[in-house]
Amino acid sequence: MTVDAVVIGSGPGGSAAADVLTRAGWSVVIFEKGRNHLLDPGDPTRPAADYSNDEIKFMHRHFLGPDPFLEPRTFRTGPEEGERSHVGEVNSIPSTVGGGGTHADGKVPRFREDDFRLLSTLGPQPEAAGADWPIAYEDLEPYYAEAERAVGVAGEAGANPYAAWRSGPYPMPPGPPMYGATLSAAAAEKLGLHPYPAPTAANSVPYDGRPACNNCGYCSFFGCPIHAKGDPVALLTRVMATGRAELRPETFVSRIRTSGGRATGVDFIGPDGVERSMGARHVVVAGGAVETPRLLLLSGIEHPLVGRHLMVHFQTIAVGMMAQRLHSQRGRAVTHVHDDAIVGDEASRRAAREAGLPWMRGGMVEHGGASLPIVEAKIYPWGEAHQALMADSPLRERLWAFIMQGEDLPYPDNRVDLDPAVRDVRGFPVARVTYRGRRHELAASAHHGERLQAVLREMGAGWTAVTTSPGTRHVGGGTTPVPESRHVIGTTRMGTDPATSVVDSWGRVHGLENVVVADSSVFVTASGYGPTLTLVALAARAAAGLAGTTLPVVGPVNGSG
């Protein structure tokens, strides 16, 4: 059997690519190593009913995978730590039909125009392999607009003074702000910052045949029980409705077969554990920026830059303790953000100079609180104090947090490669992540961490603290050097020169013209924004390039917006 395209991975990237290809009339087989809890197994054009407000299965029992016993990853900050310093979960994004889209609480901003040309506008940085993207914001804008309509994004055009230009309004108005965010946004404004309602892939009104979010609050790390999230459900149901796609969950692609500069198909292992092959005229790789380079390396596609320039966002977490209860378990996980740390000002330029850096960029700052009692309980000590702490709930009900998704720069030595000894359950080498923040990340974090604490004090916090992920000794309080970020970026960077990039500006692997990468692996820089909307836009563009179609202009996916 030979299909027009095999798509590896059913997350936001793979779903977007499959959507464009099936609409272009192609036959597509989507391989997904995780289980299917997103689509009704009896009728995959409809959502399943497996998601729930259940902290145990989602937070403590790996319901959406990957199970770290079956599919561990390894980690080290550098080769001086030996082969690895940690085995288990590393930047673990769900492995399931829908990928990480099912889990995310979906802040989906666009990048700004200057994100695509940092090197030429700001200049180089020590150690970093800075480069401009081979495409500009203008090239991507129509795909951003398409992506926002397809997944369903709620937001307010014009609310963010720093936003890139857009060709039209958001498909939906913003949903209700969290109580805590009304306080933190007011405090931020008072200090001259510019908070705005986070553009979010959650329905604020009924959209595309799916209901409005009812604010259940089990959002980040959970699948949405009522399918109000803009996860890949809309794209995948449309893909399945074409009748041209087959979805194969619990099926791991172990190798892309190549011959004479072309891919000929894939080897895969299905639920029965037996290895088989399938012929394909094209292969779309969308395993996420850790699994995609792993698969290329497992396939013997060994461009020297595969896996390099891994970026994850250097997160700065500033927390403040409020006197009043903020009930952050109601509603989505984050309702406000601000971009001032990305844009920078005189104070951040001074901080950069003092750190001996030519320039410094922070990231989008998310305003949010905590919501989960088991997570909270495990932080408190056991004994007589436990119950009083849980009832008073400083860490869940009263804590407010800013999380800055700090832009980390592309360093060749921050990378994904194959672990020399640790194997997954199917016997294949697992991905090893080597990562640490450098001078730029640490300086930006220290500077903005202080400023975010000032906002928390303005908000009325009696006590504030700052920590980072990955933790470092430089910025105090950090505990683990393993990054907790769920943003993974940059491991098959795009460019026009095969010597300095792995894929071309359409996501095609240099030297393998029928293999396309359709996830955030292709990003040249991380920006300070979550990667998902940008990778969906890029995946749709890459698939359109592959199929030779122009962008079909559509409304909401299923047409009943």
Partner: protein, 187 residues
């Protein structure tokens, strides 16, 4: 009635629960909400079909909708391998040891509770606490599960009748009711 632990182990475990999260006034502690049952059902998950690993969705019936949490998910071949290994240990079985041997929860509980011994139940609280402080690894293990058994969905065996949630004023699962916009945005 415990499903996997012996009666004696279960009694020791209940006494441990009572010290890890004691009841305070009207607020129930881990013993009162049945955290030991949560742990016992995890250790004995494979005595049930489907095993008690992942509760069903989308609603529990507590905030409306159908009572579907009780319909536990079937496990795939690989998930059964993972959870059996985690619970039973690898026991020298090659397919469980692809990255080396794994000590199972059953063994860790059985040995830890034996180390405390049946006499633990009758010690005065201060001596119980001292004994627990002498076994930090066991306490880490049990305390994590006690937190899950206090504040996790009752379908897993703990948090009896939602008493753990009620004790801290937490609403628990709220689908399909959710929260109104005013409840989200107001104080």
């Amino acid at each position: 009635m415990p499903v996997w632990l012996t009666d004696q182990e279960y009694r020791v475990l209940e006494s441990v629960c009572a010290r890890l999260v004691p009841a305070i006034g009207a607020r129930p502690g881990a013993r009162e909400v049945g955290a030991a049952d949560y742990i016992d059902r995890l250790l004995g998950a494979f005595l049930f079909d489907p095993p008690l690993i992942w509760a069903g969705g989308p609603t529990s019936g507590r905030a409306g909708g159908e009572a579907a949490f009780g319909r536990f998910h079937r496990l795939t071949r690989l998930d059964e391998l993972a959870w059996r290994t985690r619970i039973e240990g690898s026991r020298g079985i090659p397919e469980r040891e692809f990255n080396g041997p794994v000590a199972g929860l059953q063994q860790r509980y059985r040995e830890g509770l034996a180390e405390l011994g049946p006499g633990f139940c009758d010690l005065p609280p201060e001596e119980q606490d001292a004994a627990l402080r002498g076994l930090p690894e066991l306490v880490d293990l049990v305390y994590g599960h006690v937190c899950e058994g206090m504040y996790g969905a009752p379908e897993y065996g703990g948090n009896r009748d939602g008493a753990g949630w009620a004790g801290i004023g937490f609403a628990g699962d709220v689908q399909p009711r959710g929260w109104t916009d005013a409840e989200v945005s107001g104080p």
